[in-house]
């Protein structure tokens, strides 16, 4: 669209023709108030707050629906306009309960802000207000009808944005009301003798986010605190592999600082407006009373007993050193995590390879990133980023079910199709929900992805259309691995690819080399720079399953498990570990931890700083939000364990005088005020100074990652510290090619309401599951 010039409040502004006046003004710093307008959702012109005067028009016009035209002359603020807005507010407030002091939205409410601005607080109505009790629609969504201003944002967000259509508008006129999809008389939920309407949906809470007032409130946050009493820390969600930015509201409590709210107020992440149920509410596992807060050591009577840190670390370190000496480094195994940071993952494999001296390191893999990286080696620009999904003109989704497993991916696909008319092609063995957005759908047999890949070369409508796409993004579910995956990549030489994995740092764990047969960045165990620097063994180590086989055979002297629950996940027989010295580092006494000889209570992703890489290879900063007394970050624990093994930790973590730069603690270890720490860090980086802090500072090892890991060498520290995502493509040439690799991918099969072992520690997830399976059962989930 060509640019046009118009005059707004006497100022000449330029915007592409067809831009909505409200948006054009906004981009020039002229704020026009609006309740019903929401970028990206359909236009309403219902609230009439955005009225402006346009020359030659007899009436005030709504800026939210008026496209700019050349020569247009607009006044956005005048006594007439202020009066119109004020009157509209007065009318709204007539029926509004004005319960701001107890409203969750108090302090974050657009109605409050407008009333403040236009001075419409004087209510001249003497009639009683239309009252209605607050309603609980689901464990996480509450509706307070009198506060509702009927802007329809929630309805549109649920329908257009989420493709769920669980909210509607019923009645008309002043009886109009937002209604959930299960009417009271059919819900079967009765409270105090009253039947309650219920919400059967994905429980994403997007409606709450979109609500400009306190009409929709969150079941996990309501009445907990005032917004201004919290610190707001932007970090990355720990749950799935999509990498949503989430803002955590934290408040100090006696044993640290606690997360009270998760939301998306920041909206600066690659998830834009979006956040799913887990990102928004499932932080509550962190506050679970079952959190481990003291190291445990197995006593002679067979029970685990709390001991001091020093005792536990000394015991574990000494024992490991002895076992290494007696039975050799290759008798020891290490298992890493999908939810720890890149720095921790890197450190852990370095620990295995240089402190222990073994390649027996692996993690629970949920996607075959090794094949992806090797298939794309030597190419550039072939790894798709999450942001590509939002913009690409064409997308092919092979396998996977993003709606349930990668909700942001699903959101981006839907948004792209809706707003940009992107062409979506879907090939799946199930009729996944995203087929509703698809231009073409191919039904694949359950294990028939190999045949599908072959058919891409054939002459049929689907394949022809896919091959004709010039800028295609291929999103691949975990059904495709090894040869099939490689063939798919080969079949579409012009496309960009992404693999869907299951957890916050699944990709990071792979990229950082938490694998027995490749080093960080998928580099070879033999001959690569990193291999010589490590000086580690050049034969592949045991993979995760092989470690347990070895244990069962009595050949594994010790196993160090960090943030993982393989016993449950892989159904390991506990007796297999009978003669293995087991150290587990975790949040809870999981099935694996319960078998351990030493248990270290760890901090979770919301309680530490560092970086994570999502399924697409988008790297983001993780900021410390909460703090739990009695726990330590995995990073610190690994370093301390190395120390107690008698290792020179400066060779593990380059810090202090070894590196040039500052040495003071800049706040990273200082608790919840990590915002402050980030500001220091930004400043330090901006001045070309590297923050070399303490051996427990994860940024100390980021240097080494940048130096040694292909792809990560390109990352910009300032971008990272500013909270921006960066796309990483670890595909330099010379990566390892392994023939006949064992398929070790085990999808976690998480749903919208599960998150691996964390599920059972999140009361909210439990509640929502119960709500969805018992309270609203008999009704189809979402719209299909």
């Amino acid at each position: 669209m060509p640019d046009v010039t118009l005059t707004v409040d006497g100022q000449k502004i330029t915007a592409p023709a067809g831009t909505l006046l409200l948006e054009a003004c906004k981009s020039h710093g002229i704020e026009i108030p609006a309740f019903c307008y929401y970028p990206g959702l359909s236009l309403q012109a219902a609230c009439r707050m955005c009225v402006v005067r346009i020359e030659k028009m007899p009436k005030l016009q709504t800026a939210c629906t008026t496209p700019v035209t050349a020569g247009m002359v607009v006044i956005t603020d005048s006594p007439e306009i202020a009066q119109a807005r004020k009157a509209t507010l007065q009318l709204l407030l007539g029926n509004h309960p004005l319960d701001c002091p107890v409203c969750d939205a108090g302090g974050e409410c657009e109605l409050q802000d407008m009333t403040f601005k236009y001075g419409a607080a004087d209510s001249f109505y003497t009639e009683p207000k239309n009252h209605r009790e607050e309603q609980k629609w689901s464990p996480v969504v509450y509706f307070d009808r009198p506060r509702c201003i009927l802007c329809y944002r929630c309805v549109r967000m649920c329908g257009e944005g989420m493709d769920i259509f669980a909210l509607g508008i019923q009645n008309r006129g002043s009886s109009s009301v937002i209604a959930p999809n299960i009417p009271a008389q059919l819900s079967g939920v009765v409270e105090n003798g009253v039947e309650l309407a219920q919400l059967d949906c994905e429980q994403c809470g997007m409606c709450i986010d979109a609500c400009p007032v306190g009409a929709l409130t969150s079941g996990t946050y309501r009445y907990k605190t005032r917004p201004w009493e919290m610190n707001h820390v932007a970090t990355v969600c720990t749950h799935c592999g999509d990498g949503c930015k989430t803002t955590l509201g934290v408040r100090s409590v006696s044993d640290g600082s606690q997360i009270l709210r998760g939301d998306n107020r920041d909206k600066s992440g690659m998830n834009g407006d979006f956040l799913c149920n887990k990102g928004r509410y499932a932080f509550d596992f962190a506050n679970n009373v079952e959190r481990l807060t003291s190291p445990l050591v197995r006593h002679s009577d067979g029970t685990l007993k709390p001991v001091s840190w020093e005792e536990a670390l000394t015991f574990a370190g000494t024992k490991l050193r002895d076992l290494r000496q007696q039975r050799g480094p290759n008798s020891i195994g290490v298992i890493g995590s999908n939810r720890t940071t890149n720095e921790e993952n890197y450190l852990l494999q370095k620990f295995a390879r240089t402190v222990i001296g073994t390649n027996n390191i692996d993690h629970h893999r949920t996607a075959d990133f090794v094949t992806l990286a090797t298939a794309l080696q030597g190419t550039t620009g072939k790894f798709a980023s999450q942001r590509d999904v939002e913009k690409a003109p064409a997308l092919l989704l092979v396998g996977g079910d993003p709606t349930n497993q990668a909700p942001l991916t699903a959101w981006n696909i839907r948004t792209n199709v809706r707003l940009n008319k992107a062409r979506l092609y879907v090939a799946n063995h199930e009729e996944i929900k995203l087929r509703r957005q698809a231009k073409a759908f191919v039904q694949v047999a359950q294990f028939g992805y190999g045949a599908f890949v072959e058919s891409l070369g054939a002459d049929n409508d689907f394949s022809n259309a896919v091959r004709a796409e010039e800028q295609l993004i291929v999103i691949i579910g975990n059904e495709l691995r090894g040869g099939e995956l490689a063939n798919l990549i080969k079949a579409l030489p012009n496309a960009k690819f992404a693999l869907l994995a299951d957890y916050a740092n699944s990709r990071g764990a792979s990229d950082m080399g938490v694998l027995p047969d490749v080093l960080p960045g998928y580099q070879s165990l033999q001959g690569s720079t990193i291999a010589s620097e490590y000086g580690a063994a050049d034969a592949p180590g045991l993979d995760l399953l092989a470690m347990f086989d070895a244990a069962a055979a009595g050949n594994l002297s010790a196993l160090y498990v960090v943030g993982s629950n393989p016993v449950k996940r892989f159904g390991i027989d506990p007796t297999a570990l009978k003669s293995t010295f087991l150290i587990v580092q975790d949040l809870f006494l999981t099935e694996t931890a319960a078998l351990a000889d030493v248990v270290f209570p760890a901090a979770n992703l919301y309680e530490k700083s560092g970086s994570v890489t999502n399924s697409y290879g988008d790297l983001q900063l993780v900021s410390k939000a909460a703090d739990k007394a009695g726990t330590r970050s995995d990073f610190e624990l690994i370093v301390r364990l190395a120390d107690h093994l008698g290792h020179d930790i400066k060779s593990l973590v380059p810090f202090g005088s070894q590196a040039k730069g500052l040495r003071a603690d800049q706040g990273q270890t200082r608790g919840a005020e990590s915002g402050e720490a980030d500001r220091h860090a930004v400043w330090i980086t901006a001045n070309n100074l590297e923050p070399k802090l303490s051996p427990f500072d994860p940024f100390a090892i980021l240097d080494e990652i940048q130096r040694l890991v292909p792809g990560y060498d390109k990352l910009l520290r300032l971008q990272l510290l500013s909270g921006n995502d960066q796309h990483i493509a670890p595909a330099s040439s010379g990566l390892v090619q392994i023939e006949n690799r064992k398929d070790l991918v085990l999808p976690s099969s998480d749903t919208l309401f599960t998150s691996g072992s964390l599920t059972r520690y999140s009361p909210m997830l439990q509640d929502v599951q119960r709500h969805q399976t018992t309270e609203v059962s008999g009704h189809l989930t979402s719209a299909d």
Binding site: P58, K59, L60, A87, T88, L91, R172, G173, S174, S175
Partner: protein, 444 residues
């Protein structure tokens, strides 16, 4: 059954077949029926539109938009099918003229729709009646079936290869707002009767996204007559820029209420005193609502005005739907205002804030005021609310609610004050449903 009335001053164009059995298709054909359509097929779209423009016919739905011009806005070529939509939602209080057309001359509406279709290149017409008009729908449906049976509707009409036209009839289910053209399209598409954002206007993007001409039933029933008598001849019957005749429904306190076809520009005074026989029971005239309940009231001394769009606009009111409601001296303006706002409050679709909340607050305040609990500020408050609704709402319903209220206060303020003084008291029969809990579905 509605009684048919007549008066010598009437000029019967549209109503000439009323009472003559024209619901029967053979009888209709005898009375020059379906001639205009055949003529239209032969002469082509340009001729039709020119004739319509020449006729000076302005929309009878309320806004008075020139019909020929409306038709000419429809783009010649369109990817999506074009449609003709007949608005028979007739719900403006005081209005019952379309009722008589459906009852007496349904084929005129079919013909008008076909001609509109020929003019703009539409092959489908919809006739939408308000839900309460079920018995009229039955008449309409029979007429449509008869026309199909005769080959007047369907494919190759009157043997003209490729000239096709289909008609679908249906009703609403109780909603005044659905008379608004874009809300009507929503309703016809099976949705809530909430108006659409304009532009785009229906002539470009209308029903099912296709270019659509929407006309009031009376407007469209005029069309065949205009084609037969010629545009100029029709225009001459009325006044400048207000061609032809119009069905005026005169109701309220007159001796002979009824629907009369009078030339545009006919004197309001004569309409009341001559045509409708004057004020019932020899009482004095107090006020007139000249074009349906949304038009600002005229006082008894303001009725020397011609009944056309322009003259009434000059008089500070509107011709609207042509429903003239006559109030004698016994009427309490406050009661009348209360009943009026109660209607708009009930019918507001609820989409936009000023209308949804404004109608509700005026109704609430006026209810209390009428019941004797008023205070001086109330009158100003009501006026303030109405003034702030005017021109600020999403669709004209908000204006339709605000305008009469402003009129009542402006012209009869002393009468409001009499309630404050206790000189007038509440009419106990006017019971307003208490405001309170509504059930979720069907809360009317």
């Amino acid at each position: 059954m509605p009684t048919l009335v007549s008066h010598p001053d009437e000029v019967k164009v549209l109503s000439k077949r009323f009472g003559l059995g024209a619901t029967n298709i053979d009888r209709y054909v005898e009375l020059d029926g379906y001639k205009a359509t055949q003529q239209a097929i032969e002469q082509g779209p340009e001729w039709i539109i020119n004739t319509m423009k020449a006729s000076g016919l302005r929309g009878r739905g309320g806004a008075g938009f020139p019909t020929g011009m409306k038709w000419s806005f429809v783009p010649k070529v369109s990817e999506k099918p074009k449609y003709v939509l007949i608005n028979g939602d007739e719900s403006e209080p005081g209005t019952c003229k379309d009722h008589l057309i459906f009852l007496n001359d349904p084929h005129a509406i079919i013909e008008g729709a076909m001609i509109a279709g020929l003019a703009i290149g539409a092959k489908t017409g919809f006739i939408y009646l308000r839900g309460e008009y079920r018995y009229l729908l039955n008449i309409m449906e029979k007429a449509v079936a008869d026309a199909y049976a005769k080959g007047f509707l369907g494919k190759n009409i009157f043997g003209h290869e490729g000239v096709d036209f289909d008609i679908i009839t249906q009703t609403g289910a109780g909603a005044y707002e659905v008379g608004e053209e874009s809300a009507l399209m929503e309703s016809l598409e099976g949705k809530r009767g909430v108006p659409r954002i304009r532009p785009p206007f229906p002539a470009v993007v209308g029903l099912y996204g296709g270019p659509t001409v929407i006309n009031n039933a009376e407007t469209i029933a005029n069309v065949p007559h205009i084609l037969l008598m010629g545009g100029e001849a029709y225009a001459k019957l009325g006044t400048e820029r207000n061609g032809g005749t119009r069905l005026f429904g005169i109701s309220g306190h007159v001796e002979r209420p009824g629907v009369y076809e009078l030339p545009m520009g006919y004197s309001l005074r004569k309409a009341i005193y001559d045509v409708a026989g004057g004020i019932r029971g020899g009482k004095q005239l107090k006020a007139v609502v000249p074009g349906g309940s949304s038009c600002p009231v005229l006082r008894a001394d303001e009725i020397d005005v011609g009944l056309d769009f322009d003259q009434l606009a000059k008089a500070g009111t509107m011709l609207g739907s042509g429903g003239i409601v006559v109030l004698d001296e016994t009427v309490s303006i406050v009661e009348f205002a209360l009943r009026t706002i109660r209607f708009y409050q009930h019918e507001s679709c609820g989409w936009c804030i000023p209308c949804r909340e404004g109608t509700d607050w005026i109704k609430k305040t006026l209810t209390r005021f009428h019941a004797g609990g008023g205070n001086k500020k109330d009158i100003d408050n009501i006026q303030y609310i109405a003034e702030n609704m005017l021109g600020r709402t999403f669709c004209p319903l908000g204006d339709a609610a605000a305008m009469p209220i402003l009129g009542f206060i402006k012209k009869f303020r002393p009468e409001f004050e009499e309630y404050l003084a206790g000189a007038r008291v509440a009419n106990p029969l006017i019971q307003i449903q208490p405001v309170g809990e509504h059930e979720l579905a069907g809360a009317h």
